[in-house]
Symmetry: C2
Subunit: 107 residues, 2 copies
């Protein structure tokens, strides 16, 4: 199992909409997230930042993420959430959520 | 089980020391963290920020955190790590690590 942490900004004027989207997440998105072996997926918020924690339990992360990225329902879902977000200042030109480095763990 | 996310800054000139401290964490600190029902404790780093994720599996969070706060070895440990950190700008005068709001979860 691998643990991931990622960060992005939420636009202040879009925060309420982002919350509402997730309070009413489409069931297909939940199912497809689990189908690609993502578990214990949690989003935290403070001061305009979103932090995402999740665990990956499969054996081909790149292939599984590609499946999700290419899923038609997921692409539609992201057209809604993407409007609420913007990358952190240090993100590369082609990055959205950016990885944080996992520097310490206690089981 | 409850999930927690917390954030703090690490001083740029102290980042390497902070890493080294955690690469060589005192065994007593690991044991005492688990003894107060903290599980799956992970620290992530990016852009000068530390993000801490953990799960609490006990039934009295305040009492358990008080135990850890008052533990003599843990107090000594924190004299080392505290020198590496500073609270985020939005922290209150008596806050160190500050909570992020858990806004979404998929099991």
């Amino acid at each position: 199992m691998r643990r991931f942490g990622e960060v992005i900004k939420v636009k202040p004027e879009k925060y309420e909409e982002y919350r509402k989207l997730h309070d009413n997440i489409w069931p297909g998105i939940v199912g497809k997230t689990r189908a690609v072996h993502i578990r214990n997926f949690t989003i935290f918020y403070r001061d305009g930042y979103l932090f995402k924690y999740f665990e990956y339990t499969g054996d081909n992360y790149e292939e599984d993420m590609k499946k999700l990225t290419e899923d038609e329902e997921n692409i539609r879902w992201l057209t809604h959430t993407d409007l609420c977000q913007e990358p952190v200042d240090s993100a590369g030109a082609d990055e959205w959520w950016v990885p944080m480095e996992n520097i310490f763990h206690i089981l």
